[in-house]
């Protein structure tokens, strides 16, 4: 039993099932991020935790109490919405105190809490303004302030940063993380942004098509994606998914990949040692495991150096991304900045096969 238990929960609208049997158990103080593309069921799941939508089957319990039939206001949760959902007719103060007022908190105590929260979020000077007079970032803070006054068991965030511009989004991301470290409250956070998921969470549930594809720590999700969807969704640039064949050369299991010009390269792949020789696989390798030789992780025990013709070079400031044709696909490698690599010319690559994974091309699940 966790602090927040989602036990075999499903959701259907008429005949359409938008969330299949879902099982997630969240410990107290955890920061769980639900991430996935639009329509994957993540917001539906969050709304069901909040009590804004009914559960079709299964149970949700918070702090040991089954809350399926408990009204949103009585679940002891607080929610921050994508549009902030500040009441336009009330001042910031009114917005923050509204929930406490509804719960019958005496006025003196309300004032005290407002002052405390405003101080924490540095919005004291905004308390008497209307939401219409605030910038996006300020509204975001007010929305969080409103949630904070509740001292909830669980905080729910519904894509809270997606209406902010890029710079502010990064700042607010850090602030949310700080807030979590300071308060230690359990958080469930919905986003479609995999960077937010990786940076904020203690655990991630990657969702797609109404199913949780993988539930794990950011490290597990990033290093060992359960299937090709998770591999492609998490990480930017995405993991290269390259068709390859397993062959045994000199007793060692190797991945054989086609190169653009029709030749092949053979890379020792110790992780695939237990797989069937001669099998077709999809090799998953992140751009940072395909580097220039000097940029490779020298602690790795499975480095292979080879030369490949480069198609495109994209300098990105801190790194340079190079594209090569591998296994019939465009594979992206990450070189260090100021690299002499040029499009149309061959360059030396180092593959770190300790960080590569193998997928079954049929079921798309990870084999090794």
């Amino acid at each position: 039993m966790g602090f927040l238990d989602i036990d075999n929960v499903t959701k259907s609208y008429g005949a359409v099932k938008v969330l299949n049997e879902t099982e997630i158990s969240v410990e107290e103080g955890e920061f769980l991020v639900l991430v996935g593309p639009s329509g994957c069921g993540k917001s539906t799941l969050l709304n069901m935790i909040a009590g804004l939508e009914d559960v079709t089957s299964g149970d949700i319990s918070i702090n040991g109490r089954r809350v399926n039939d408990v009204k949103p206001a009585e679940r002891n949760i607080a929610m921050v919405f994508q549009s902030y959902a500040l009441y336009p007719n009330m001042t910031v103060r009114g917005n923050i105190s509204f929930g406490m007022e509804m719960h019958g908190v005496p006025k003196a105590e309300r004032e005290e809490k407002i002052a405390k929260v405003a101080d924490l979020l540095q919005i004291t000077n905004l308390l008497d303004r209307k939401p219409g007079q605030l910038s996006g970032g300020q509204r975001q803070r007010v929305a969080m302030g409103r949630a904070l006054t509740r001292d909830p068991d669980v905080f729910l965030f519904d894509e809270p940063l997606s209406n902010l511009d890029a710079k502010l989004r990064v700042d607010m991301r850090t602030e949310i993380k700080k807030l979590h470290q300071k308060l230690g409250t359990t958080i469930v956070y919905v986003t479609h942004d995999q960077i937010e998921a990786l940076t904020l969470s203690t655990r991630i549930a990657v969702m797609f098509g109404g199913n949780v594809q993988q539930l794990g720590t950011p490290q597990e999700i990033y290093d060992n994606p359960a299937n090709m969807f998770v591999a492609g969704f998490m990480g930017s640039p995405a993991m290269n998914l390259l068709p390859a064949r397993l062959e045994r050369v000199n007793g060692a299991m190797c991945a054989v990949l086609k190169v653009g010009d029709g030749s092949t390269i053979t890379v020792p792949f110790p992780r695939a040692e237990d797989l069937t020789e001669g099998a077709d696989i999809v090799l998953g390798i992140r751009p940072e495991a395909m580097t220039d030789p000097e940029g490779a992780d020298r602690d790795s025990n499975a480095l292979t150096e080879t030369e490949l013709p480069i198609d495109v070079v994209e300098p990105a400031g801190s790194d340079t991304y190079v594209t090569v044709a591998l296994g019939g696909k465009d594979a992206i490698g990450r070189f260090r900045a100021h690299n002499p690599a040029k499009a149309g010319q061959p360059a030396r690559f180092t593959f770190d096969m300790a960080k590569a994974v193998a997928f079954d091309p049929e079921t798309e699940t990870r084999l090794a």
């Binding site: 009590g51 009204k71 959902a85 007719n89 929930g99 509804m102 719960h103």
Partner: protein
């Protein structure tokens, strides 16, 4: 060349440069024609108002002697006084005063109730959706298109059954029923564009159905409420058919009383009194338009652009 001949100015106005090669400010004939035409239309439309006003301010003999279009030579408010409190309306010589009051007693509660019910309907139809809500909305809309004449007899029966026939309450009842269709239409469309997340946030904050309605939705409904009030006020105040059909002597609204005033004048037709009475009957709606008119346009825009 400041003294250009008119023919040249006309060519300048149509875009060809004058022979002198210099363009200059000159009299624009098409524009003058335009303003003259507009001015004539303006006078044409304002003429009835002028006739009403000037004749209501002169003694009767000035009108009967053929000076209908002239300004009063002997300015007097006697006709207004008479229309207000002395003239024979129906059987009693009470003037229009009591009926003016009747109209207010009818229109204020009717507008208030219909607006509130419409807002409540709009709230339920957009924020508490249920199976069949669009069909229900369609049926309510249907009420906007039912001609008044069709419901006269069933309504008379219903009012009799409810024991409020021939009373101001009965008229309020009838007007609320007709008004709700329109106010529901207005508020439903306005609330459809109202962010549902606000309602959800309020739910999580612990507000119930009615608290959300009057603390969150109503305070943000200003523009559409103004539209609704103007529309309902004008229609209910100006209604004659229901007033004539469902009222008694002591519950007649202004419109019916005005008709009786004109019909029941014995002997000489007191045109000046009739004119004064007609202006009186129109004043409240004019007042509402002038005070709230600019919100009217703004409110209509708000609903349409956001939706």
């Amino acid at each position: 060349m400041a003294t250009a001949p008119t023919s040249e100015a006309v060519t300048a106005g149509t875009g060809t440069p004058p022979p002198g090669g210099k363009t200059r400010a000159s009299v624009n004939i098409p524009r003058i024609v335009l303003y003259v035409i507009l001015g004539l239309f303006c006078i044409y439309y304002l003429l009835p108002l002028y006739v009403m006003l000037s004749n209501s301010l002169k003694p009767l003999n000035e009108i009967t002697s053929g000076g209908m279009m002239a300004l009063p030579s002997d300015w007097t408010l006697a006709a207004w006084r008479s229309a207000w409190s002395e003239a024979q309306v129906g059987v009693a010589a009470t003037g229009l005063k009591p009926y003016f009051a009747n109209s207010f007693f009818m229109v204020i509660p009717a507008v208030a109730i219909a607006t509130l019910l419409g807002a409540l309907n709009g709230y339920v139809l957009t924020k508490w959706r249920f199976r069949g809500d669009t069909i229900l909305f369609g049926l309510i809309l249907f009420g906007c298109f039912i001609p008044f004449q069709i419901v006269l007899i069933p309504m008379a029966r219903a009012l009799g059954f409810l024991n409020i026939s021939g009373t101001v309450s009965g008229l309020i009842f009838v007007h609320v029923i007709y008004g709700v269709s329109f106010s529901t239409l207005y508020f439903r469309n306005y609330y459809a564009a109202f962010p549902t997340e606000l309602v959800r946030a309020a739910q999580i904050d612990g507000a119930g159905f009615f608290t959300i309605f009057y603390r969150i939705l109503l305070p943000n409904s200003g523009p559409i409420a103004v539209v609704c009030v103007i529309w309902l006020f004008t229609n209910i105040w100006n209604d004659f058919l229901f007033g004539a059909s469902f009222s008694d002597f002591d519950s007649q609204p202004m419109t019916v009383a005005l008709n009786n005033l004109v019909q029941s004048s014995t002997g000489v037709k007191e045109y000046n009194v009739h004119f004064a009475g007609a202006i009186m009957a129109a004043l409240p709606t004019l007042f509402v338009y002038i005070v709230a008119g600019r919100f009217f346009v703004r409110g209509l825009m708000t609903g349409s652009v956001k939706g």
